[in-house]
């Protein structure tokens, strides 16, 4: 037990020491946004115990002992300014000079994700359909504009298995210590990305539609690989500690130069879960995007989940911003509402973006 805990802890300390605390990059872009992971402040890699493991840590698939199909998982994610601008219809009526000027200082963001998936013991497969748009504009004197327009579609598969060759849960129902590894692959086609609009392009803005077409570009394909590791360590009755490490989009998933490259995300995390018959409570911490050149606090994620029978309450800190959420799980329907903050600047507390996410999931157990 001591070895099982010490090794991941050493890895965690090692990567923290190696982490750069410079900050040149702006917003971190995530290929997949899961509502539960987001509600927990983005801390999930150590936990990895549901269908999100397929996208975030494939090693977690080894811990799954049921077969479920999520046939209509829809996620909608918008920034507060997007919602308030939509409510003020005059702001989005025209994409001309006056219209754009009204949007200065407002960070507009919207995302739609549809990821039907099949999760079985040791295996998962999903379809990805994702659409994002963003408009971040600062500096009224000489506009500094980031325009995001990105569509990503594809298929993803993953497998996870136990190195100890154990079943996830023996018939007695108790969890055993375990080391799990996983690998996933994805075949995607993407267009667009997040682009800084050069000043000279601003001299060409007329009605804006040609700019969108130019920035969106054409679809190109890309293939990505994910690796995952998870260590499960039951402590005593009711407590389970887990450590995880995942490297998604190993070496960065590129799409032929035109669409935005999906940056690799190397993360480590830990979770502590307490089970009782009527409820469970989980705390988790992740340190993510380790290799990326962003300020250290932008890589930190903390989360807590209190799971009751049909109701789950979440709280966390994503980077330095408060997150909270609530979920209702009623047999075949699962609904979650989350609010979280995301840093758009180069340093924390510089340009925080408050967002709201709604996730609706229809699912069915297979066998």
């Amino acid at each position: 037990m001591r070895t099982v805990i010490c090794v991941p802890a050493v890895i965690l300390i090692f990567v923290l020491l190696l982490t750069s605390f410079q900050s040149d990059a702006e917003e971190l872009h995530y290929y997949y946004r899961g509502a539960r992971a987001t509600a927990m402040g983005g801390a999930y890699v150590g936990l990895a115990d549901d269908e999100q493991a397929l996208f975030l840590n494939p090693a977690g698939l080894a811990g799954n002992d049921t077969s479920v199909i999520d046939y209509a998982p829809i996620m909608l994610d918008v920034s507060r300014e997007m919602y308030s601008s939509y409510s003020d219809s005059s702001l989005l009526d025209s994409f001309d000079f006056d219209g754009i000027n009204k949007l200065m200082g407002k960070n507009l963001y919207g995302r739609f994700q549809f990821t039907p998936n099949l999760i079985m013991p040791n295996f998962g497969a999903a379809i990805m359909m994702d659409a994002e748009m963003a408009f971040y504009a600062n500096n009224k004197a000489m506009p500094h504009i980031t325009f995001g327009w990105q569509n990503t579609n594809g298929i993803q598969m993953g497998t996870g298995f136990s190195l100890y060759g154990k079943r996830r849960r023996p018939r007695s129902g108790t969890l055993q210590n375990d080391i799990r590894v996983g690998i996933g692959g994805k075949y995607l086609w993407r267009r667009g990305g997040y682009r800084h609009v050069p000043f000279e392009k601003l001299l060409q803005i007329n009605k804006g539609t040609s700019l969108i077409k130019e920035l969106a570009g054409n679809y190109h394909t890309g293939m990505g690989v994910d690796f995952g590791l998870q260590v499960i360590q039951p402590l005593n009755k009711g407590f389970v500690m887990s450590f995880g490490s995942a490297y998604t989009d190993v070496g960065n998933t590129s799409f032929g130069g035109e669409p935005e490259t999906q940056m690799g995300n190397f993360s480590v995390g830990t979770a502590l879960k307490y089970y009782r018959p009527a409820f469970s409570i989980t705390g988790a911490f992740d340190y993510s995007n380790i290799a990326q050149d962003v300020e250290g606090r932008q890589k930190m994620h903390y989360g807590v989940e209190l799971q009751l029978s049909m109701l789950t309450i979440y709280m966390g800190i994503n980077q330095v911003y408060f997150t909270t959420g609530v979920g209702f799980d009623v047999w075949l329907l699962r609904v979650m509402a989350v609010t979280y903050g995301q840093e758009l600047g180069t340093d924390v507390f510089q340009d925080g973006n408050r967002r709201f996410m709604l996730s609706i999931d229809m699912r069915a157990g297979l066998f």
């Binding site: 000079f97 500096n139 009224k140």
Partner: protein, 283 residues
């Protein structure tokens, strides 16, 4: 530098200047810093980019209406509002945004010996710089016209601009003439990348005033009136062809003090503004 952008979003121009100025003057300055410094001073000068571009795109600015439009859009009461001065500082920064690989000969440099050496040659600068220089030059023109021309409610002048001879030329008058030639340079360099109604407006300005201003420079150096008659300025005895097109040195806003041709050319431009039918009309 993100903080500078955020400050300028909030309209906190002076805070943005405080944040960028030390870096601009240091050895760590670069083109991004220079552009940001230009935008910070552009903020003080009254430039709000999209409203200004919208104004230029929708207003039919023909001939002498251009000078009235600048007076209307860039008000300035006195030196205390620092609007013209900010235009100067923004111009200094923009003129230092050199294209990759450019090494400027000494005689073409602006602000030599500083960490932000500029060039009088617009084609040696990047397009972003020349593009923004158009708007900064407009702000300088408008601010100075407001301060010295005593404009009417219809933005016509009641008082001729005072720098109509070499002897009367001062730094402010030189910067005014310099802003006019820099504006025309900026339009020439960015015409190919502009589109739509903004392009139409800027092309109209260039086609109306390009040759007229060069001719005005020539007449200025030759001591001629705005329409080519003798007797406007006894101190300027060069041939007109020496200053047509306008001297490169005139792109430096302080050149008139130590370059007689620049001073004469600048005086010729001012006489054009005061008296030519396409100059700033009387109220």
């Amino acid at each position: 530098m993100e903080e500078v952008n955020l400050s300028l979003t909030a309209g906190e121009c002076n805070k943005a200047i405080e944040l960028i100025e030390d870096l601009y003057n240091s050895s760590y300055t670069d083109n991004e810093v220079r552009m940001l410094r230009a935008s910070a001073h552009g903020c003080v000068a009254g430039i709000s980019f999209f409203p200004l571009v919208g104004y230029l795109s929708t207003r039919n600015i023909v001939g002498s209406e251009f000078w009235m439009a600048m007076t209307e859009y860039f008000p300035s009461v006195s030196q205390t509002d620092l609007k013209a001065e900010s235009g100067w500082y923004a111009t200094d920064a923009l003129q230092a945004v050199l294209d990759t690989g450019i090494v400027e000969p000494v005689d073409l440099q602006i602000n030599p010996g500083t960490n932000n050496v500029g060039t009088q040659v617009a084609s040696h600068r990047i397009k972003d710089s020349n593009g923004y220089l158009m708007f900064v030059s407009m702000s300088t023109i408008g601010a100075i016209q407001n301060r010295y021309g005593n404009p009417t409610n219809e933005y016509k002048k009641l008082t001729p601009l005072p720098w109509s001879t070499k002897a009367a030329m001062a730094e402010t008058g030189c910067s005014y003439a310099s802003a006019i030639v820099n504006l025309l340079d900026g339009i020439d360099e960015t015409q190919t990348i502009m589109q739509g109604s903004l392009k139409n407006t800027m092309e109209q300005i260039s086609s109306t005033f390009g040759e007229l201003i060069d001719t005005a420079c020539g007449y200025g150096c030759a001591g001629l009136t705005y329409d080519g008659a003798v007797g406007a300025d006894a101190e300027c005895t060069y041939s007109a062809s020496e200053c047509n097109p306008c001297p490169l040195k005139l792109r430096t806003r302080t050149s008139c003090a130590d370059d007689a041709k620049s001073a004469c050319a600048a005086a010729g431009i001012v006489r054009f503004i005061n008296l030519h039918p396409f100059g700033w009309p009387d109220g």
